[in-house]
Amino acid sequence: MTLAEAVLLTVITASTPLLIAAIGELLAERAGVLNLGVEGMMAVGAACAFAAAVSLDSTLGGFVAGAGAGMALSLVFAFAVLGVAANQVASGLALTILGLGLSGVIGAPFVGARRDPIAHLSLPGLTDLPFIGRPLFGQDPIVYLSFALAAAMAWFLFRTRGGLTLRAIGEDHASAHALGLPVLKARFLAILFGGACAGLAGAYLSLVYTRFWSPGMTGGRGWIALALVVFAAWRPGRALAGAYLFGLATVLQLHAQAGAIRLPSQLLSAMPYLVTILALVILAARDRRSTGAPASLGIPFVPDR
């Protein structure tokens, strides 16, 4: 295996959770809901997935549990921001704090346990192709799922009636309500989907990326996924590109740490956050007037009665 091939394989593993979480948040934000709790849902997803995978000795069971846990946590958020129209920013922070706490409680008994590597696709002939074989035809199922998710999201948003309804609701919830579009229902479903995606992304971290659980293992990836949605201008295709650019940056930093680059390791560890800030600034500076954000994003909706 060449170094470039090894880098590419780690990039895929590093990018996949970011992509899945970003796609989920993208849908919620397209519906007009800003859920800042991605980090918390991811953490709970990681802990529940690992706990379930170890207890059931089933990786599939782990992924299902991770997605389910993320979705369950997002229900709490949905109740706050839709049920009682609470402030979305503060509720998202509450979700993050709650999720990080719960993940610690759930994961604590499993510290020290390890999982075996997940099965990868293996197509005789194709997987063995030089250089492109492993990256294209030798990945784990979740990687393919993440690509399918991005494609399905693009198709749903821009090619289906449901997607049109959802975008309309995110653009202007008052108009949508006046036309009889189901504002709260669409937002509810979008929040749950976002929760499931964040949970799945967390599951990927603990079951594939590290294969063990440790406290705080999400390490801000939920926040980076949130930034990716902004960076992607709320478009699934660009979210995919952004996640892989970001994954590449993270992996290069890891390789730099392992290699002979004489920089403090902390500076290299800080790169993802600094790069995110820089990306947000460049994006905002390019067009100050339009970022592509749904116009109703973050605004609570309470119909007249």
Binding site: R161, L164, T165, R167, A168, E171, D172, A174, S175, A176, H177, A178, L179, G180, L181, R289, S290, A295, D304, R305
Partner: protein, 517 residues
Amino acid sequence: MASEPSVDVDRAGGVPLVSMRGIVKRFGDFTANDGIDLDIRAGEIHALLGENGAGKSTLVKILYGLLQPSAGEILWSGRPVVLASPVAARSLGIGMVFQHFSLFENLTVAENIAAAMDQGLSLGAIAARVKEIGERYGLQLDPGRPVWTLSAGERQRIEIVRCLMQDPRLLVLDEPTSVLTPQEAERLFETLESLRDQGTAILYISHRLEEVRRLCTQATILRLGRKVGTVDPRSVSARQLAAMMVGAEVGEVRADAGPAGAPVLSVRDLSLPPASVHGIALRDVALEVRAGEIVGIAGIAGNGQSELFGALSGERPANAASTIVIDGVPVGLQGVNARRALGAAFVAEERLGHGAVPAHALSDNIVLTRHAEPGISRLGFLLPAAAKALAERVRTAFDVRAGRGDPAAATLSGGNLQKFVVGREMTRQPRLLVVNQPTWGVDAAAAALIRQALVDGAKAGAAILVISQDLDELFEISGRIAVIHDGRLSAPRPAGELTREAIGLLMGGSGEGAHAH
């Protein structure tokens, strides 16, 4: 009301297409609709008349399934129906054209139509039908254009086409002409008449009496949530209709203008790029307002009025200091408080959220525009007692009816809050007053009081600039009138030399000698 004309005359027999029976709608302890009956027949244009706050919007929202009545029933071709949602209303054949368009700025025309279609149609099929309907009714639209690039008239066309796509049996239009030039309004009437002739029932909501008399054969009048009666509007005068709406004669504004003095506000070469993607650019605006005169600016909403107001008030700095001069001082780059210090005062269009903070008490809202005055704050500290006293003065001087104590701005009715907001500025005795939409959404009595206050202010020597969509209002109080269209301002001309038609052409952007310089 002894002179009330023949109430409840049935023009044609048979079962009405829709009958609303004893409709009651309560919001908490406020009754918006109190036992209202309304019959609309196929092939008739039925007017729903009433002042702001009379309960028209509530009744129409019930008819479109957006609100559920607290009591009463709705019959459709004689059978009772429950309209649980707009989807249910549309499936019966009810179409609605909203006053505040329910459109999505960033979506295309076709997407906007598809979003409201209950049967799934591809965007291509929708585009084809849009074209077909456009040709049949003279409502041309480009399906691929994003809505934010369209004028108000074109946007209304989307709303109408969106209804016609579903072959409605009842079409409801809420104040449709408020965003149209007189010429565009005439074209709309022709479309509505051709729909009527094909048997569509039309409910036409308006407070413009002349157009109701021109178009409608039945008119139901609401006042304070109750039905006053149903008349044939062609058989009564506009004055009689107005009396039924208001319940009392509204005094006329005495607008005897004095001689104009020295210029207080001079605007030259004012150009500003749009503040947001969907905004309008101001282009080479020039204008002069003299002490003692009222200058009116007419125009359809969204043609740069709020941008002009923002530039004049200083909420957004202009392109150069010299483009805006107040009392000889170039203030183009100064903020709003520097301009207030020169004796300027401003009344914003949006009362709640711009001219006043909804959740704050009236005395706190006094502070909003007057905090720089020595009586209201000292060395950075507030003087709440002074603000309370001033709020009380404004309430007395402008007959602001509000709850006891120091109520929040949001609890006032539109008319009372507008009187408060205008009064807050007028009690300063400003040298210059810039007002955007002084009586928008305000009841007739409050509107008359506000117009009189403006006229009296000018008589006392203030230079007053009134931006308004209401042509009647501008003709009533202004000495000179200019028209704003797509960010350009025509040269102001004496009101006496102008006709509604000439202004209408300028509002549509096609008047002769349109622009200043």
